[in-house]
Protein backbone atom coordinates (compact mmCIF):
# COMPACT_ATOMS: atom_id res chain seq x y z
CA UNK A 1 0.00 0.00 0.00
CA UNK A 2 2.80 2.28 0.95
CA UNK A 3 4.77 1.29 -2.15
CA UNK A 4 1.74 1.89 -4.40
CA UNK A 5 1.13 5.27 -2.86
CA UNK A 6 4.81 6.18 -3.26
CA UNK A 7 4.74 5.09 -6.90
CA UNK A 8 1.59 7.03 -7.47
CA UNK A 9 3.10 10.06 -5.83
CA UNK A 10 6.23 9.85 -8.01
CA UNK A 11 4.11 9.44 -11.09
CA UNK A 12 2.06 12.40 -10.17
CA UNK A 13 5.01 14.54 -9.18
CA UNK A 14 5.43 16.32 -12.47
CA UNK A 15 7.56 19.17 -11.11
CA UNK A 16 10.57 17.08 -10.08
CA UNK A 17 10.59 15.10 -13.34
CA UNK A 18 10.27 18.26 -15.34
CA UNK A 19 13.27 19.93 -13.70
CA UNK A 20 15.68 16.96 -13.96
CA UNK A 21 14.49 16.02 -17.45
CA UNK A 22 14.73 19.61 -18.54
CA UNK A 23 18.23 19.88 -17.14
CA UNK A 24 19.41 16.68 -18.82
CA UNK A 25 17.81 17.77 -22.09
CA UNK A 26 19.40 21.19 -21.96
CA UNK A 27 22.76 19.77 -21.05
CA UNK A 28 22.59 17.21 -23.84
CA UNK A 29 21.61 19.79 -26.41
CA UNK A 30 24.38 22.09 -25.22
CA UNK A 31 27.00 19.33 -25.33
CA UNK A 32 25.89 18.10 -28.75
CA UNK A 33 25.80 21.65 -30.12
CA UNK A 34 29.24 22.39 -28.73
CA UNK A 35 30.69 19.17 -30.17
CA UNK A 36 29.15 19.85 -33.58
CA UNK A 37 30.41 23.43 -33.51
CA UNK A 38 33.93 22.52 -32.49
CA UNK A 39 34.23 19.67 -34.99
CA UNK A 40 32.98 21.93 -37.78
CA UNK A 41 35.63 24.47 -36.80
CA UNK A 42 38.27 21.76 -36.92
CA UNK A 43 37.14 20.82 -40.43
CA UNK A 44 37.29 24.48 -41.39
CA UNK A 45 40.76 24.77 -39.93
CA UNK A 46 41.92 21.73 -41.86
CA UNK A 47 40.59 23.20 -45.06
CA UNK A 48 42.34 26.48 -44.30
CA UNK A 49 45.56 24.54 -43.67
CA UNK A 50 45.29 22.88 -47.06
CA UNK A 51 44.55 26.22 -48.72
CA UNK A 52 47.60 27.75 -47.09
CA UNK A 53 49.68 24.73 -48.10
CA UNK A 54 48.60 24.98 -51.73
CA UNK A 55 49.32 28.71 -51.76
CA UNK A 56 52.75 28.09 -50.30
CA UNK A 57 53.48 25.32 -52.80
CA UNK A 58 52.49 27.64 -55.63
CA UNK A 59 54.73 30.43 -54.31
CA UNK A 60 57.75 28.13 -54.00
CA UNK A 61 56.94 26.36 -57.27
CA UNK A 62 56.81 29.61 -59.17
CA UNK A 63 60.05 30.71 -57.54
CA UNK A 64 61.83 27.52 -58.61
CA UNK A 65 60.26 27.70 -62.07
CA UNK A 66 61.54 31.25 -62.45
CA UNK A 67 65.04 30.23 -61.40
CA UNK A 68 65.08 27.34 -63.86
CA UNK A 69 64.01 29.71 -66.64
CA UNK A 70 66.64 32.22 -65.52
CA UNK A 71 69.41 29.64 -65.69
CA UNK A 72 68.14 28.39 -69.05
CA UNK A 73 68.12 31.95 -70.40
CA UNK A 74 71.61 32.62 -69.01
CA UNK A 75 72.88 29.51 -70.81
CA UNK A 76 71.20 30.64 -74.01
CA UNK A 77 72.64 34.16 -73.74
CA UNK A 78 76.13 32.77 -73.16
CA UNK A 79 75.86 30.30 -76.03
CA UNK A 80 74.57 33.01 -78.35
CA UNK A 81 77.59 35.13 -77.44
CA UNK A 82 79.80 32.21 -78.46
CA UNK A 83 80.80 31.71 -74.84
CA UNK A 84 80.81 28.73 -72.57
CA UNK A 85 79.14 28.31 -69.21
CA UNK A 86 81.70 27.10 -66.68
CA UNK A 87 79.24 26.61 -63.85
CA UNK A 88 75.90 27.87 -62.62
CA UNK A 89 74.73 26.93 -59.16
CA UNK A 90 71.66 28.23 -57.41
CA UNK A 91 70.80 27.39 -53.84
CA UNK A 92 67.13 26.72 -53.25
CA UNK A 93 65.88 27.80 -49.88
CA UNK A 94 62.81 25.77 -49.03
CA UNK A 95 61.29 25.51 -45.56
CA UNK A 96 61.46 22.21 -43.67
CA UNK A 97 57.71 22.10 -43.26
CA UNK A 98 54.84 23.96 -44.79
CA UNK A 99 51.72 24.25 -42.61
CA UNK A 100 53.38 21.83 -40.18
CA UNK A 101 53.67 19.11 -42.79
CA UNK A 102 56.67 17.56 -44.52
CA UNK A 103 56.42 17.61 -48.29
CA UNK A 104 58.09 16.41 -51.45
CA UNK A 105 59.04 18.25 -54.63
CA UNK A 106 59.17 16.27 -57.85
CA UNK A 107 60.74 17.61 -61.03
CA UNK A 108 59.19 16.01 -64.07
CA UNK A 109 60.67 16.40 -67.54
CA UNK A 110 57.70 15.17 -69.55
CA UNK A 111 55.56 17.20 -69.03
CA UNK A 112 57.72 19.96 -67.64
CA UNK A 113 56.22 20.32 -64.20
CA UNK A 114 57.23 20.79 -60.60
CA UNK A 115 54.92 18.69 -58.44
CA UNK A 116 54.55 19.47 -54.75
CA UNK A 117 52.94 16.92 -52.47
CA UNK A 118 52.34 17.10 -48.78
CA UNK A 119 53.51 14.23 -46.59
CA UNK A 120 50.26 14.35 -44.62
CA UNK A 121 47.10 12.83 -45.90
CA UNK A 122 43.73 14.50 -45.87
CA UNK A 123 40.61 13.05 -44.31
CA UNK A 124 39.79 10.99 -47.41
CA UNK A 125 43.22 9.33 -47.29
CA UNK A 126 44.39 10.85 -50.58
CA UNK A 127 46.93 13.53 -51.34
CA UNK A 128 45.08 15.27 -54.16
CA UNK A 129 43.91 18.04 -51.85
CA UNK A 130 47.46 19.30 -51.35
CA UNK A 131 49.07 18.29 -54.66
CA UNK A 132 50.17 21.30 -56.67
CA UNK A 133 51.66 21.23 -60.15
CA UNK A 134 53.61 24.24 -61.38
CA UNK A 135 54.80 24.23 -65.00
CA UNK A 136 58.24 25.46 -66.01
CA UNK A 137 59.78 26.25 -69.38
CA UNK A 138 63.21 25.55 -70.76
CA UNK A 139 64.43 25.93 -74.34
CA UNK A 140 68.10 24.99 -74.27
CA UNK A 141 68.50 22.78 -71.28
CA UNK A 142 66.58 19.91 -69.71
CA UNK A 143 65.91 19.20 -66.09
CA UNK A 144 66.99 15.83 -64.73
CA UNK A 145 63.83 14.18 -63.33
CA UNK A 146 64.25 13.96 -59.59
CA UNK A 147 62.32 13.99 -56.34
CA UNK A 148 63.32 15.97 -53.27
CA UNK A 149 62.03 15.63 -49.73
CA UNK A 150 61.82 18.55 -47.36
CA UNK A 151 64.05 18.56 -44.32
CA UNK A 152 67.28 19.76 -45.85
CA UNK A 153 68.12 23.38 -46.47
CA UNK A 154 70.80 22.65 -49.01
CA UNK A 155 68.98 22.05 -52.23
CA UNK A 156 71.08 23.05 -55.19
CA UNK A 157 70.16 23.68 -58.80
CA UNK A 158 73.32 22.90 -60.71
CA UNK A 159 73.93 23.23 -64.43
CA UNK A 160 75.86 20.24 -65.74
CA UNK A 161 77.92 21.63 -68.60
CA UNK A 162 78.81 18.29 -70.19
CA UNK A 163 75.29 16.88 -70.30
CA UNK A 164 73.53 20.24 -70.71
CA UNK A 165 71.13 19.26 -67.93
CA UNK A 166 69.92 21.06 -64.84
CA UNK A 167 70.44 18.81 -61.86
CA UNK A 168 68.62 19.47 -58.64
CA UNK A 169 69.81 17.77 -55.50
Amino acid sequence: MTRRSATGKLARDERAVSISFGFILTLSITVITTIVLISSFYAMMDRAEQTVMRDEFEIHGNDISLQISNIDTAVQITNNAGGKVESITYQLTLPDTIANEQYSVEFSDQPKEIIFESGGRDETGGRDETRVKVPYTTHNTNVTPTKLYSGSNDFLVHYNVSSNMLEIH
Binding site: M45, T51, I59, A74, T78, I98
Partner: protein
Amino acid sequence: MKKWNDSAQMILIAGFAIGIGIVVLTVMLNNIIYASNTASEANIETNVFDFSSTMKVTTHAYEKAYEANSIDNAYIFNYTRKMAESYALAGFIFTLSNDSLQEPYLSQNGLNNGNSDWVVIDRVNRTDIFEIGINTSRLGNESKPFVIEALNQSGMFWSARICNSSGTFNLTVTNSTDILRTENIGGGSPSLNITNNTPFDFHFDTLTSGEQYRIRFTNGSQAGGTFSISGELTNGQPFEIKRYHVLSTTMSLNKNGHMEMNVTIPVTLPGGQI
Protein backbone atom coordinates in the same frame (compact mmCIF):
# COMPACT_ATOMS: atom_id res chain seq x y z
CA MET B 1 8.81 37.16 -9.05
CA LYS B 2 7.81 35.75 -12.42
CA LYS B 3 9.33 38.73 -14.16
CA TRP B 4 12.63 38.15 -12.41
CA ASN B 5 12.54 34.51 -13.47
CA ASP B 6 11.98 35.46 -17.10
CA SER B 7 14.89 37.91 -16.91
CA ALA B 8 17.14 35.20 -15.56
CA GLN B 9 16.29 32.99 -18.51
CA MET B 10 17.18 35.83 -20.85
CA ILE B 11 20.44 36.40 -19.04
CA LEU B 12 21.21 32.69 -19.31
CA ILE B 13 20.44 32.66 -23.04
CA ALA B 14 22.47 35.80 -23.54
CA GLY B 15 25.33 34.19 -21.60
CA PHE B 16 25.24 31.14 -23.86
CA ALA B 17 25.14 33.34 -26.95
CA ILE B 18 28.09 35.39 -25.77
CA GLY B 19 30.02 32.22 -24.87
CA ILE B 20 29.44 30.66 -28.28
CA GLY B 21 30.30 33.98 -29.92
CA ILE B 22 33.61 34.11 -28.07
CA VAL B 23 34.42 30.53 -29.09
CA VAL B 24 33.62 31.28 -32.76
CA LEU B 25 35.65 34.49 -32.74
CA THR B 26 38.61 32.80 -31.06
CA VAL B 27 38.67 29.93 -33.52
CA MET B 28 38.34 32.24 -36.53
CA LEU B 29 40.98 34.65 -35.28
CA ASN B 30 43.28 31.76 -34.52
CA ASN B 31 42.71 30.52 -38.05
CA ILE B 32 43.61 33.86 -39.57
CA ILE B 33 46.74 34.25 -37.45
CA TYR B 34 47.76 30.69 -38.27
CA ALA B 35 47.28 31.22 -42.01
CA SER B 36 49.24 34.45 -42.08
CA ASN B 37 52.05 32.95 -40.02
CA THR B 38 52.52 29.98 -42.30
CA ALA B 39 52.83 32.14 -45.44
CA SER B 40 56.52 32.63 -46.17
CA GLU B 41 58.33 34.92 -48.51
CA ALA B 42 59.53 33.74 -51.86
CA ASN B 43 63.16 34.30 -52.65
CA ILE B 44 63.15 35.56 -56.20
CA GLU B 45 66.32 36.58 -57.96
CA THR B 46 65.83 38.24 -61.29
CA ASN B 47 69.36 38.24 -62.58
CA VAL B 48 69.18 37.21 -66.22
CA PHE B 49 68.72 40.62 -67.76
CA ASP B 50 71.43 42.06 -65.55
CA PHE B 51 73.63 39.20 -66.61
CA SER B 52 72.93 39.74 -70.31
CA SER B 53 73.70 43.44 -70.13
CA THR B 54 76.83 42.76 -68.05
CA MET B 55 78.12 40.46 -70.78
CA LYS B 56 77.53 43.13 -73.41
CA VAL B 57 79.10 45.86 -71.29
CA THR B 58 82.12 43.66 -70.53
CA THR B 59 82.63 42.87 -74.22
CA HIS B 60 82.42 46.58 -74.93
CA ALA B 61 84.93 47.32 -72.16
CA TYR B 62 87.49 44.95 -73.71
CA GLU B 63 86.94 46.55 -77.11
CA LYS B 64 87.65 49.92 -75.54
CA ALA B 65 90.69 48.58 -73.69
CA TYR B 66 92.20 47.14 -76.86
CA GLU B 67 94.94 49.42 -78.06
CA ALA B 68 97.75 48.70 -80.47
CA ASN B 69 97.57 44.91 -80.25
CA SER B 70 97.44 44.87 -76.45
CA ILE B 71 94.95 45.26 -73.63
CA ASP B 72 95.07 48.30 -71.38
CA ASN B 73 95.08 46.46 -68.05
CA ALA B 74 94.53 49.63 -66.05
CA TYR B 75 91.29 50.25 -67.94
CA ILE B 76 90.05 46.70 -67.26
CA PHE B 77 91.09 46.96 -63.60
CA ASN B 78 89.11 50.17 -63.30
CA TYR B 79 86.15 48.66 -65.08
CA THR B 80 86.18 45.60 -62.81
CA ARG B 81 86.32 47.79 -59.71
CA LYS B 82 83.42 49.95 -60.88
CA MET B 83 81.33 46.91 -61.78
CA ALA B 84 82.12 45.24 -58.44
CA GLU B 85 81.05 48.40 -56.63
CA SER B 86 77.78 48.74 -58.51
CA TYR B 87 76.99 45.04 -58.12
CA ALA B 88 77.85 45.13 -54.42
CA LEU B 89 74.79 47.31 -53.85
CA ALA B 90 72.60 44.50 -55.16
CA GLY B 91 74.41 41.94 -53.01
CA PHE B 92 76.50 40.46 -55.82
CA ILE B 93 80.20 39.78 -55.88
CA PHE B 94 81.47 40.45 -59.39
CA THR B 95 84.85 39.21 -60.55
CA LEU B 96 86.43 39.32 -63.96
CA SER B 97 89.54 37.74 -65.38
CA ASN B 98 90.95 37.20 -68.83
CA ASP B 99 93.52 35.18 -70.73
CA SER B 100 96.13 36.68 -72.99
CA LEU B 101 95.40 37.79 -76.54
CA GLN B 102 95.38 34.95 -79.02
CA GLU B 103 95.37 34.61 -82.73
CA PRO B 104 91.75 34.13 -83.76
CA TYR B 105 90.06 31.59 -85.95
CA LEU B 106 87.59 32.69 -88.57
CA SER B 107 84.63 31.11 -86.77
CA GLN B 108 81.83 33.20 -85.31
CA ASN B 109 83.31 33.55 -81.83
CA GLY B 110 86.95 33.46 -82.95
CA LEU B 111 87.70 30.08 -81.36
CA ASN B 112 88.37 26.78 -83.08
CA ASN B 113 85.25 25.26 -81.49
CA GLY B 114 83.03 28.15 -82.54
CA ASN B 115 80.22 28.25 -85.05
CA SER B 116 81.87 27.47 -88.40
CA ASP B 117 79.26 28.72 -90.83
CA TRP B 118 78.13 32.23 -90.12
CA VAL B 119 77.10 35.47 -91.75
CA VAL B 120 79.72 38.16 -91.17
CA ILE B 121 77.57 41.01 -92.40
CA ASP B 122 74.09 41.21 -93.86
CA ARG B 123 72.38 43.76 -96.15
CA VAL B 124 75.57 45.13 -97.66
CA ASN B 125 75.33 47.78 -100.33
CA ARG B 126 79.04 48.35 -100.89
CA THR B 127 82.28 46.96 -99.49
CA ASP B 128 85.17 49.45 -99.36
CA ILE B 129 87.77 47.42 -97.51
CA PHE B 130 87.95 43.65 -97.30
CA GLU B 131 91.30 42.34 -96.11
CA ILE B 132 91.92 38.90 -94.79
CA GLY B 133 95.06 37.31 -93.39
CA ILE B 134 95.23 33.54 -93.42
CA ASN B 135 97.44 31.51 -91.13
CA THR B 136 98.16 28.63 -93.49
CA SER B 137 99.41 26.43 -90.68
CA ARG B 138 95.82 26.39 -89.38
CA LEU B 139 94.12 25.81 -92.70
CA GLY B 140 91.81 22.87 -93.39
CA ASN B 141 92.34 20.41 -96.22
CA GLU B 142 90.31 19.99 -99.41
CA SER B 143 87.47 18.20 -97.63
CA LYS B 144 86.97 21.18 -95.31
CA PRO B 145 87.99 24.29 -97.19
CA PHE B 146 87.48 27.76 -95.79
CA VAL B 147 85.03 29.60 -98.03
CA ILE B 148 84.15 33.27 -98.24
CA GLU B 149 80.88 33.82 -100.06
CA ALA B 150 78.84 36.77 -101.23
CA LEU B 151 75.16 35.90 -101.50
CA ASN B 152 72.19 37.81 -102.82
CA GLN B 153 68.52 36.84 -103.06
CA SER B 154 69.27 34.25 -105.74
CA GLY B 155 72.12 32.67 -103.83
CA MET B 156 75.91 32.68 -104.07
CA PHE B 157 77.33 34.86 -106.82
CA TRP B 158 80.96 35.19 -105.67
CA SER B 159 83.13 32.91 -103.57
CA ALA B 160 86.75 32.38 -102.61
CA ARG B 161 87.68 28.87 -101.49
CA ILE B 162 90.95 28.42 -99.62
CA CYS B 163 92.37 25.06 -98.59
CA ASN B 164 95.51 23.17 -97.85
CA SER B 165 96.00 20.80 -100.77
CA SER B 166 98.91 18.60 -99.69
CA GLY B 167 101.05 21.52 -98.61
CA THR B 168 99.94 23.81 -101.42
CA PHE B 169 97.62 26.57 -100.31
CA ASN B 170 95.17 27.09 -103.13
CA LEU B 171 92.63 29.85 -103.49
CA THR B 172 89.83 29.37 -105.99
CA VAL B 173 87.60 32.29 -106.98
CA THR B 174 84.24 31.43 -108.53
CA ASN B 175 81.08 33.16 -109.58
CA SER B 176 77.72 31.39 -109.38
CA THR B 177 78.64 28.92 -112.11
CA ASP B 178 82.30 29.06 -113.14
CA ILE B 179 85.79 29.03 -111.68
CA LEU B 180 87.29 32.41 -112.42
CA ARG B 181 90.75 31.94 -111.00
CA THR B 182 92.91 29.49 -109.03
CA GLU B 183 96.06 30.72 -107.35
CA ASN B 184 98.62 29.43 -104.92
CA ILE B 185 98.70 31.95 -102.08
CA GLY B 186 101.95 30.57 -100.62
CA GLY B 187 102.79 29.45 -97.09
CA GLY B 188 103.12 31.46 -93.89
CA SER B 189 100.50 34.13 -93.28
CA PRO B 190 99.64 35.67 -96.62
CA SER B 191 97.54 38.82 -96.60
CA LEU B 192 94.79 39.02 -99.15
CA ASN B 193 93.28 42.36 -100.02
CA ILE B 194 90.08 41.35 -101.74
CA THR B 195 88.81 44.83 -102.57
CA ASN B 196 92.22 46.14 -103.63
CA ASN B 197 92.92 43.01 -105.72
CA THR B 198 96.25 42.25 -104.06
CA PRO B 199 98.11 40.02 -104.79
CA PHE B 200 95.79 39.18 -107.73
CA ASP B 201 92.35 39.98 -109.11
CA PHE B 202 89.62 38.51 -106.89
CA HIS B 203 86.77 39.75 -109.15
CA PHE B 204 84.98 40.82 -105.96
CA ASP B 205 84.41 44.48 -106.83
CA THR B 206 83.19 43.78 -110.33
CA LEU B 207 80.78 41.03 -109.27
CA THR B 208 79.38 42.76 -106.18
CA SER B 209 78.92 46.12 -107.85
CA GLY B 210 75.23 47.07 -107.89
CA GLU B 211 74.29 44.08 -105.76
CA GLN B 212 72.76 43.96 -102.31
CA TYR B 213 74.30 41.01 -100.55
CA ARG B 214 75.58 39.37 -97.44
CA ILE B 215 79.04 37.96 -96.74
CA ARG B 216 79.27 34.52 -95.22
CA PHE B 217 82.18 32.44 -93.92
CA THR B 218 81.93 28.66 -94.19
CA ASN B 219 84.22 26.29 -92.27
CA GLY B 220 85.55 29.26 -90.31
CA SER B 221 86.86 27.00 -87.58
CA GLN B 222 89.10 25.35 -90.19
CA ALA B 223 91.09 28.51 -90.73
CA GLY B 224 93.07 30.71 -88.38
CA GLY B 225 93.39 34.30 -89.42
CA THR B 226 92.42 37.93 -89.15
CA PHE B 227 90.13 40.12 -91.17
CA SER B 228 88.97 43.65 -91.61
CA ILE B 229 85.87 44.63 -93.51
CA SER B 230 84.11 47.94 -93.91
CA GLY B 231 81.65 49.57 -96.24
CA GLU B 232 78.07 50.70 -96.43
CA LEU B 233 74.83 48.94 -95.64
CA THR B 234 71.68 49.10 -97.76
CA ASN B 235 70.22 51.65 -95.34
CA GLY B 236 73.15 53.97 -95.99
CA GLN B 237 74.81 53.35 -92.63
CA PRO B 238 78.53 52.59 -92.60
CA PHE B 239 79.83 49.38 -91.05
CA GLU B 240 83.24 48.26 -89.89
CA ILE B 241 84.26 44.89 -88.43
CA LYS B 242 87.81 44.04 -87.48
CA ARG B 243 89.24 40.92 -85.92
CA TYR B 244 92.93 40.80 -85.08
CA HIS B 245 92.82 38.98 -81.77
CA VAL B 246 90.55 36.91 -79.58
CA LEU B 247 90.53 36.94 -75.83
CA SER B 248 88.71 34.65 -73.40
CA THR B 249 87.25 36.45 -70.45
CA THR B 250 85.73 34.72 -67.42
CA MET B 251 82.98 36.51 -65.56
CA SER B 252 81.80 35.39 -62.18
CA LEU B 253 78.73 36.49 -60.24
CA ASN B 254 78.06 35.34 -56.72
CA LYS B 255 75.10 36.40 -54.62
CA ASN B 256 75.40 35.66 -50.89
CA GLY B 257 76.42 32.12 -51.71
CA HIS B 258 72.89 31.48 -53.01
CA MET B 259 73.79 31.88 -56.62
CA GLU B 260 77.07 31.35 -58.40
CA MET B 261 77.56 31.87 -62.08
CA ASN B 262 80.79 31.43 -64.02
CA VAL B 263 80.88 31.98 -67.74
CA THR B 264 83.67 32.32 -70.26
CA ILE B 265 83.04 34.56 -73.20
CA PRO B 266 85.39 35.01 -76.13
CA VAL B 267 85.78 38.61 -77.21
CA THR B 268 86.98 39.28 -80.73
CA LEU B 269 89.09 42.40 -80.91
CA PRO B 270 89.02 45.18 -81.82
CA GLY B 271 85.42 44.27 -82.69
CA GLY B 272 83.36 46.54 -84.77
CA GLN B 273 80.36 48.69 -85.20
CA ILE B 274 77.42 47.73 -87.31
